[in-house]
Amino acid sequence: MSAFAVLQKDEKNRSAELTLSGEWLIKEHPDNRDGIIDEFAAPGFSRVVLNGKGITCWDSQLIAFLVRLLSLCRKNKVDYSLVDFPHGIESLLDLAFAVPERKQEDRSVQKESCLVFLGNIALHSWAATRAAYFFARRTYASFVRFLLKRAVVRKGDILSEIQDAGVKAFPIVSLICFLVGLILAFVGSIQLKMFGAQIYVSSLVAIAVTRVMGAIMGGVIMAGRTGASYAATLGSMQVNEEVDALKTMGISPFDFLVLPRVLALSLMMPLLTIYADLMGIMGGAFVGIFMLGLSPEDYFRMTLKALSMKNIIIGIVHGSVYGVIIALCGCYQGINCGRNASAVGYATTAAVVHSIVWMTVATAILTFMFSVFGV
């Protein structure tokens, strides 16, 4: 049995009677539900009786329908009365109408013009740039205080961050950089084989990995691993009021939280870059020796021939810059995190995305500078 609603209108007396019957359950609803609501929205009557005698069972479906109808009656100044409704319904209706609906501004999204949209983007970009600038400036001021031994920072925290950003990152850096070296060697060998010049795979891998690929891969790994961790840790501290506790105690979060992380990653990234270079060369050697049939002596002789201190230093410079960028992006997102769980998620994602974007920008700038200076 389903739910039924029958509306009978007496146009002469400008009155009506709505008779409800059947099972008014969430899974059931009368076919003419919308039609009845339309009738109540533009009523041709000034008085209505709602009769519930035929209702056999009911749940929120019935209450929601009645609330809708009675709201329309109140809005359209239609007198109404409820007759023979099951016990409990009237008290639930009283409860539903007990607190008036909050009148507030329309919060639906307003369609904005193209100019307003562009203007908002410009304003947000300007505000974000200013915030990032002040964050970097405060971190620098904290670093100066550290040099003057006036920063509130625990040596143990710095060492712990160094361990986390350094030794603990070795396994993932080893795996990824080994595979990148392997892929480079594979892809290069396909072309070089055509000219019988497989031996130059070693030079290709050595130059590519040391000049930029080692630093980039190390940077991407650290952005996803350590930068995200900084944002999540500091963001959670923000949510748990731990950052407030530091501030009210007169301890700068920049000294206590940001500086150890920036120092640790800035110190570790150059070392990780050298390690990544080494693992990349090992990956290339694996392909050269075991798949292209080169002798280990030949492979490493050619590698040493191709290696230059200039390329290694360029790679280390890239790695150092990436370290600062990743640490700043991670800490910036964490310290400026909102105060709820989803804000921590957003901060973590933003830390990784911003790190990679700024690493790319930095790579472009460094490449341009090295080319201008003929390095």
Partner: protein
């Protein structure tokens, strides 16, 4: 007559253009247990962030132990100096999760005193004993219960023997017995250490048990609509809103 410790005048607080409270005036006397009460969403915790220097008010002044804190050309250095006399217990305890309880309590002592490590160790042990957590020095915050976190947070707030302690909803999330124990602890601290207490709460049993003075922040008018001893307010409610709040709507 008791000396005023906090004097708030014409304080207006806003988030961007959204005014949270306006023209708030009150005075907290030394050794008061001063309760800031009001319904959820009235801005009690926001007021606490202003009183403790975390949020700048739109206008108004605050004098902290007679010194300018907000307004009157007060600087951040003034606020930092004032906050050295204060301790804060946050709603969640806000213990630094990467440190043990002992390290949490020792940090302000290391930062602001010239005590030797042995002296700091003794003071840390004393503060933990005072809050009933003796022997928990080497525990991390994640290893203890919510009630213990609050007590450890209180031990940290008391580390520097502050003249005033701010509590943000200390009873939130605690069972009635733990909540009463915390109230007793607050009273003991007030009695024995002669500390001024400011509590943000809407827990009626706590308000009546320990409050000596109070203000009621009203969400509708966005200002203080009543003040005084909570038990007196219950006996002679100045308006219906207060009566409704203090009697849980029974009258």
């Amino acid at each position: 007559m008791a000396e005023p410790f906090l004097e708030i005048k014409d304080l207006t607080v806003a988030y961007d253009e959204n005014v949270i409270m306006r023209d708030v005036n009150f005075t907290v006397n030394a050794q008061d247990v001063f309760v800031i009460m009001g319904a959820s969403g009235c801005g009690k915790s926001t007021l606490l962030t202003v009183l403790t220097g975390l949020k700048r008010p739109l206008k108004g002044t605050e004098l902290f132990d007679g010194q300018p804190f907000w307004g009157n050309n007060a600087t951040k250095a003034d606020r930092d100096a004032s906050m050295r006399k204060a301790g804060i217990l946050y709603q969640s305890g806000a213990l630094w999760s990467s440190m043990t309880l002992a390290e949490n309590i020792a940090l302000p002592l290391e930062q602001y005193t010239d005590l030797t490590p042995a002296e700091i160790r003794d003071i840390v042990a004393l503060k933990l004993d005072l809050v009933g957590l003796g022997g928990f020095q080497d525990y991390y915050p994640a290893e203890i219960s919510g009630g213990m976190k609050k007590r450890a947070g209180l031990a940290r707030a008391l580390a520097l023997d502050p003249q005033i302690v701010f509590f943000d909803e200390p009873s939130a999330g605690l069972d009635p017995i733990s909540s009463k124990n915390l109230d007793d602890l607050i009273l003991q601290i007030k009695e024995n250490l002669h500390t001024t207490i400011v509590i943000v709460t809407h827990e009626l049993p706590s308000i009546f048990a320990i409050g000596t003075n109070s203000i009621y922040l009203d969400a509708q008018t966005k200002t203080v609509i009543a003040g005084g001893n909570p038990n007196e307010l219950l006996k002679n409610p100045p308006n219906e809103t207060i009566e409704h709040f203090l009697t849980r709507g029974k009258k």
